[in-house]
Symmetry: C2
Subunit: 141 residues, 2 copies
DNA sequence: ATATACTTGACTATTTTAGTCAAGTATAGA
DNA sequence: TCTATACTTGACTAAAATAGTCAAGTATAT
């Protein structure tokens, strides 16, 4: 799980999409203008979101993207994994699993980082797009 | 709060120090050899740890470093803040605080990232050096 | 037809990371 | 006092990651 601007933009774009989702596809151009994200960068991001079946693209005039699932079924973890595919934490890579038993300073921090990683994962596993929208009473879903 | 190798090395080095803390100062050379961290890099790290009063340096032959407090009083958050001083999260910088009310996709993710940041901070605020050591029964404190 | 919109891959400036290098200063013990 | 050991400080840098840009398409609705 990496936490980058790319991931944040993906969540932003999908939150935007969830709000304007009702009937029509939403064009990246609109999202770009509303959220202030470069169109080219959005295309890169939505390519990944489409590959991971989070959105569906609709081509042609008045085309755009729509969500492939209900907002409640799209976990934030899914989104972040889609655009920043490699799960990379700062951790000791030299130890093999079996030799790493938490008995050296190296492996003590290894365990600490793993534990943090789990906390972060849980956090994003337990949040979905709908959670983000409903915290925002003025919005229309 | 940044999570880098530098921060992890700092925690590793202090865990090592806590284990060999009993009577004598521990030289960076020893830590370097035991933990496989470059001596030059350790010096950079310990300069910061000293400035933040986490360790005390003892010069001269058989000198080295000792902890400035009991392990239980050294929070992991203190360590990470000492070596990676800038608190930097991926977040929206364009909004002023007052205009950011969680009503746009931008600010929705802003809130999400802030919430995560708090989770991570809590995690490290509630762990201290002693916690790391006591999970390691074979070690001597 | 053709404008609109999505697709794909290559490319890159900037910043960050994870150190290295050099030239010191201070102190303990012989 | 001498000098080996250890800490101090600041400048420098190769490599990787980040955050995009650019170019040249292809597909489809109207």
């Amino acid at each position: 799980m990496k936490l980058t601007s790319k991931g944040r933009y993906a969540v932003m774009a999908l939150a935007d999409l969830a709000k304007f989702n009702s009937t029509n596809p939403v064009s990246l151009r609109d999202i770009s203008l509303r959220q202030g994200i470069s169109l080219d960068f959005l295309e890169q991001i939505f390519l990944q979101l489409k590959k991971h079946e989070i959105v569906i693209s609709i081509r042609g005039t008045n085309g755009g993207y729509i969500l492939n699932k209900e907002p409640v079924d799209i976990k934030i973890a899914n989104i972040l994994n889609a655009v920043d595919e490699e799960v990379k934490t700062v951790q000791c890579k030299k130890e093999s699993k079996k030799s790493c038993n938490g008995k050296t300073a190296k492996c003590i921090t290894h365990n600490l980082w793993d534990e943090l990683q789990n906390h972060i994962n849980d956090f994003f596993e337990n949040k979905n797009l709908r959670d983000l929208i409903v915290n925002n009473p003025e919005s229309r879903i």
